[in-house]
Amino acid sequence: MPVRGLWIFSHRPGECGTVKFSRRYPTVEKRAKGFNKSSYTPIPENEDLVNVLLRELGLTDDNKHFVDYRDNCSRITKTNVYSLTFPDGKLWPILAIPDGDFIYVCLPLVEQILTPTPPLISINSISEAFALLYGMKQFVDFRHSTVADISLRLAQLPLLVTQVCPLGTPVDTNLTAPPEILSSISTHLAYKTPAWRTSKQKGKAQIEVFITEKVNSTQYDKGDDSDTWQVYGTISCKCNLETINQNVIVGLNLPANGSPLQDILVHPCVTSIDSSMLISSSVAATDDSAFNGPYKFPFIPPFDLFQLCYYTSQVPVPPILGFYQMTDEGHQAQISVKLKLHESIKNGFDYCEAQIPFFNKGQMKHFEYKASHGQLEMSREKSRLLWVIGQKFPKSLEITLTGTVTFSSEKHPKDPVDPVCSGNTAYVKLFFRIPDYSLTGCYTDQHSIQVFSSAKPKIIASRELISSQYYIWNSKAPAPVLCRSFFD
């Protein structure tokens, strides 16, 4: 259901907020007046809106130590939905999603009286507001675009927003693929077509399926079960097929020793789901007889690259097991790092490196080391060591690094500081990518991808494993705990 207004504000610390985009829907506003009755608050001018919003988000008075409206301990924000106070009353529910310098803002229509505040779950348009803002965010793509690109996209935005959301009620949220304007093909179809823009063949018919798995880990070398690791994966797809109403089935297979996929979430273009796929969940205790494939996803492909499905999984061991010991005396630190690649993991990396940062210690002046494998580099700002392990672990699958780091005694104001890594609390962070491999074992190939058409499309399937937050904490000092076990 509809929204009353959409905005993009920009804000940098120490500067005033500016309006980058704004769109109001007066007919919806008129309805809001009718529904909200005495609790109705009109939308103020953009400038007032941005000022009050920034204040509510706690982005003003940067340098002040304690400001009651911002720092009061009983003021606990629970969602990205805010209530803004204006002379005319309270404006609620303002959904504000920050992304870099930008803040994406939407005010959905609430079809009832606003006092007392109804729970968000009961507001039909709140999820549309989320979807619209994410659509806008994806289109503007603040994080990956140049300034020129962003201003170009902001300039295109008014027209696109009017196309996907002409009168406040969104018909689509994908701004990168607005409804097609020009198409002279007049096909006489027998059945209904999907409402999203589907693939249209240009060049050879082709289906690409990418499996990207990421692995998190936190290791302490404490000898107990406090180490944690988690895998999560994304299946991305890009189809280039001839007709518009093309059904595709992508199947994922697990080998016999593979780890079942959990928490599967699928893209809305998937036409049906086998309920047994959804049973395995990281929330409930897993049961041994869990479904383990093949996972089948029938769908009607959108024209662009899209995420067919997300999943998580629990694998029995982390791919690389490590320990890290660091002790210091005065301006010297002794370090010792040991990494072991598990034998079941493919020993062929695109890259593999270990970063060893030193916080709150000053700049490195001197470094002596012995590494059984790979090269060592010092970062430009002299606060981090980089152990480049390369493409392969040696035959023993085990590598070690020992060394002594000497720090300069002078303090520089720009020395890296981290509130967590005080004293000897420190970590090694691993970065690696293993191409053509997945930790769960999950894969797809041309036999598991079906297309119902006469011409067989070319099928490209690939997979990769990438490290994400892969930390090995210094076992000689206290380390932050990430996970709590209730089962002992």
């Binding site: 005033c16 953009n46 940067d62 196309q163 959804l278």
Partner: protein
């Protein structure tokens, strides 16, 4: 009004958008709308500009058509424009926008009704447009227009429920026949009309048999009576819906709904949500249709990653509870929901929304009807174990998870819960150790919030609360500057737990720590914070104050506090005394307090403090304690004399609003208008050089020394202090104006107050020069406050609009000592250019900026924007040197090369490059 060509209109529309009211205040609305409408017909404007112009009608119809009649007229003209347009593919965007503009104008100006012919024409036009099923007549190029027309009708039906309730069969037929991508809009239009029609039937008491069937097969015209009053929109929450008596005719309706649902997977996810919501409401009203018709959709929705689709299933759950969801389904849904609150591939705002949904989960059998946060009965400790907060979470997630888990552990008893509470406490300690090591503001605030939550839920756990108090005391010992957080925590927990002594024990602990401090420099350093705490503690009636008074006495007697005579400290001291004066057990500390006050009134080197000590002393020694409280808490009855006499009893911690000698003006009455200084521009036209040798002598080192010596005066911005708009007469003659600057974002070093003798409304505004010493030459904002006297002797304080200091306002020409010739800058440029060579060690950076322009434009460009900073110009090569006070530089070598101007840039502060870039880009775009 600017020119009425494309560029002029683009500009106009942008200015309008930026601030509609101020734009319209400067011109006549009617003539502006006339021009708009005229130029929409004109052939000289391109489609794109016209679309932009129409956007104004889409967004600000009421401002443009303030009256009903002007709305009607505008709509009529827009329709005629639409009808005269050729139906080419090119104009499709414009035609869609025209439809939307007409719709918006008609609805918002209350013209959509039976009496308005334009409205009737428009409605028929829309019906005509959507009747071209499957692009048969107009071809697929016209499809966007059909979709827009459908959306217009849907909006009309939403605004005027029942408008299309007599044309359901027609709409249904079209919905069934349409197979192109437009089918989604037809279906949604039908579903809204159907829902409204059912609702109207449901509202009528006991509709006769056959009415439902008649309604489904109706094929009349619009029901214009629906447009009568829009205010009576039906609220859409579940309980308010009416029920229909059961009968056999629901069979047909059921099959229609089933067909609608069958195609739902072909819709975009937001439209699926809309469709499900309409059908949900229908099924909720027509009790003879079982919600089981949704069953076939559930599995797909259970597994979706899309927020709209998942929200749909949650809403169905809320409406249908156990008539659609078995206990097993409910458990499964909750499990999915919890899984989504922590799914690593979903974004944080979405996960927070799902966390909120968990706490408002619509249960089949809720235990209570409390509208606030409720824990679902099915949620167990195990299910939430992976939601444990950790210090790597963002602060909102951290607190939300703590809140949820606290509720879980409180609800479920047993060893797991106890363990959980212990874990939460450990989490608190982890945050503590970060705050203890000087964490940033956000973490500090999060820690205190986390403490607040912990106290809220687990104040009965004595062991933990005792540890918590200890931890907090440790924190205060190492970070006394967090005093305000402590006071806030004490205040808030006191409100939270009325009869629980925890906040008192924390106060006691803080008191006993402070009063046992030795009188030495380290204590004095944090004295303002300690006194704030003591002042708060003194307000607790059941905490004895003897130790506090003794501490203060020791402090005053043993330190040089009195000799230094710091008003602020004296004030803080008196604030503690004032609260002790009101303390229930004043008699216990009577002697010591009298001693203290007496010492202050004789020795403190500040007359105000001495006076007030004397007053307190007299009150203490002469007035009974009942009266004392009354006097100290007295509020003025009004009248300026009273206001003033009482204010001297006040201390800074009080609420000043009713007892001020300085009053705030209601609105901003003053402003600082920047003056564009032309004078210094003359300097740059460097006179012919004198002797070169002299120039050489002025070395870089001397130059930097000069900068250092003059750092405070390098950047002077000039303003006129004037009245803002029309001000009341009492403000027409102001004197003794003091401007104070609030360095909100601390990009500048401290700025001294500026004193101005007078500002009279009928005289020339005084000139104000504001000297800034930027820490970083970035654009920034300054808060400005003015205090002044009016003619009648009152003192006012007025906040000015914040002063925006733009990036180019930080520019200054290279300063040269008066003794040196001006061409010294040329040489200086050379040496600086060399010195600003970037390398690994320094902050210098090189950059280049190119823009296509002719030789002449470049010359004009440099002359008009950089003449002040020009140090030489030869053969279309310009050297520009800009000082960014106090010590940074931008050096630019601008040359003309192959149809473009190239600026080689060097700077000794790379952080300014983005600003410089955008500045140059803006300038060159406007050239």
């Amino acid at each position: 009004m600017a020119e009425r060509n494309s560029i002029g209109w683009v500009k106009n529309v942008a200015t309008f958008h930026a601030n509609p009211r101020s734009f319209l205040s400067s011109i006549s609305v009617e003539s502006f709308v006339d021009d708009l409408l005229k130029d929409l017909k004109s052939e000289s404007l391109n489609e794109q500009t016209k679309v932009l112009m129409l956007d104004l009608f889409l967004e600000f119809p009421i401002l443009l058509c303030p009256e009903k009649s002007s709305g009607e007229l505008t709509a009529e003209i827009l329709i005629s424009i639409l009808q005269q347009m050729p139906t080419s593919i090119k104009s499709i965007n414009l035609r869609c926008h025209l439809l939307l503009a007409i719709e918006t104008v008609l609805i918002t100006t209350d013209n959509f009704n039976w009496n308005c012919k334009v409205a009737q024409d428009f409605a028929s036009l829309l019906m005509h447009l959507i009747s071209d099923i499957n692009d048969r007549k107009q071809g697929s190029s016209n499809r966007p227009l059909r979709v827009t027309a459908c959306e217009c009708l849907r909006e009309l039906e939403c605004c005027y429920p029942g408008l299309m309730s007599q044309r359901l069969e027609h709409l249904y037929t079209m919905q069934q026949q349409e197979v192109t991508t437009a089918h989604q809009s037809y279906t949604l239009l039908y579903s809204v009309a159907l829902k409204n029609a059912v609702q109207i039937l449901a509202q009528k008491e006991g509709p006769a048999n056959g009415t439902l069937k008649k309604m489904l097969t109706s094929n009349d015209s619009f029901v214009w009576s629906a447009t009568k009053d829009m205010k009576e929109l039906q609220l859409s929450s579940g309980e308010q819906l009416f029920m229909l008596p059961s009968n056999n005719e629901t069979k047909e309706l059921k099959s229609i709904l089933a067909l609608l649902l069958e195609d739902s997977f072909l819709f975009t996810s937001v439209c699926q949500n809309s469709l499900f919501w309409q059908i949900t409401q229908i099924v909720a009203m027509v009790r003879t249709i079982s919600p089981v018709i949704f069953k076939s959709q559930l599995v797909r929705l259970f597994g979706t990653k899309d927020i709209s689709c998942f929200h749909s299933i949650l809403q169905m759950k809320a409406v249908f509870t156990d008539s659609l969801f078995t206990a097993e389904d409910e458990h499964f849904l909750l499990q999915r929901l919890v899984g989504m609150t922590k799914h690593p591939l979903l974004s944080t705002p979405v996960k927070l929304f799902y966390l909120d949904c968990v706490l408002h989960f619509p249960e089949n059998r809720p235990l209570n009807s409390n509208p606030g946060e409720n824990l679902p009965v099915l949620l167990t400790v195990q299910m939430t174990s992976s939601l444990f907060p950790n210090i790597f979470n963002d602060s909102i997630t951290m607190l939300c998870r703590q809140n949820l888990l606290s509720m879980v552990y409180l609800e479920n008893e047993g060893y797991r819960s106890e363990k959980g509470i212990g874990y939460l406490f450990e989490h608190l300690l982890a945050l503590y150790s970060m705050v203890d090591k000087n964490a940033n503001r956000e973490i500090t605030a999060t820690f205190f919030r986390s403490v607040y939550l912990f106290v809220r839920y687990f104040n009965f756990c004595e062991k933990h609360m005792e540890n918590l108090t200890k931890t907090l005391l440790e924190l205060y010992k190492s970070q006394s500057s967090l005093a305000l957080y402590f006071i806030n925590l004490i205040n808030e927990t006191k409100i939270l737990l009325e009869f629980q002594p925890w906040s008192v024990s924390l106060s006691k602990g803080l008191q006993s720590y402070i009063v046992n401090l030795p009188v030495e420099s380290s204590t004095v350093k944090f004295l303002p914070w300690h006194l704030k705490i003591l002042s708060r503690v003194a307000q607790e009636t059941n905490i004895p104050q003897t130790s506090t008074v003794l501490f203060l006495r020791r402090l005053v007697f043993q330190s040089d506090l009195c000799q230094k005579g710091d008003w602020g400290l004296g004030n803080a001291l008196l604030s503690v005394c004032k609260h002790i004066l009101q303390h229930e057990h004043l008699n216990v500390v009577f002697m010591h307090l009298a001693d203290l006050l007496q010492h202050l009134m004789h020795r403190f080197e500040d007359i105000d403090i001495r006076d007030r000590s004397r007053l307190y002393y007299i009150l203490l020694t002469n007035v009974s304690s009942d009266k004392l409280c009354k006097i100290l808490n007295m509020y003025p009855m009004g009248g300026p004399t009273k206001t003033r006499s009482l204010s001297s009893i006040m201390t800074e911690s009080e609420n000043f609003s009713t007892m001020v000698t300085i009053q705030n003006t209601e609105k901003t009455i003053l402003c600082l208008c920047p003056i564009h200084d032309e004078e210094s521009a003359l300097l740059s036209s460097a006179e012919v050089s004198m002797e070169e040798s002299m120039a050489d002598e002025y070395r870089l080192q001397e130059y930097y020394q000069y900068l250092e010596d003059h750092r405070a005066s390098l950047l002077g911005l000039k303003y006129h202090l004037t009245f803002k708009g029309d001000v009341e007469e009492k403000y027409h003659k102001l004197s003794c104006i003091v401007l104070q600057f609030d360095l909100t974002h601390s990009k500048y070093e401290e700025i001294d107050n500026i004193n101005i003798m007078r500002l009279y409304a009928d005289r020339k505004p005084p000139l104000v020069t504001l000297y800034l010493v930027p820490k970083e030459p970035h654009p920034s904002v300054l808060g400005v406050n003015a205090t002044f006297n009016t003619e009648n002797g009152c003192t006012y304080n007025s906040k000015l609009d914040p002063l925006h200091i733009t990036f180019p306002e930080h520019f200054a020409p290279l300063p040269v000592p008066p003794s040196c010739p001006l061409d010294v800058r040329y040489h200086l440029f050379g040496s600086l250019w060399h010195a600003l060579q970037p390398d690994d060690q320094n902050q210098c950076e090189e950059s280049i900026f190119c823009h296509k322009m002719s030789k002449e434009t470049l010359q004009e460009f440099v002359q008009s924007h950089f003449s002040k900073f020009l140090v030489s110009s030869q053969d279309h090569e310009y050297k520009i040197a800009i000082l960014l006070p106090p010590k940074f530089h931008i050096l630019m070598n601008a040359r003309y090369r192959e149809d473009a101007a190239c600026f080689d840039i060097r700077t000794d502060n790379w952080t300014i490059l983005p600003y410089l870039n955008s500045y140059l880009r803006d300038l060159s775009h406007n050239t």
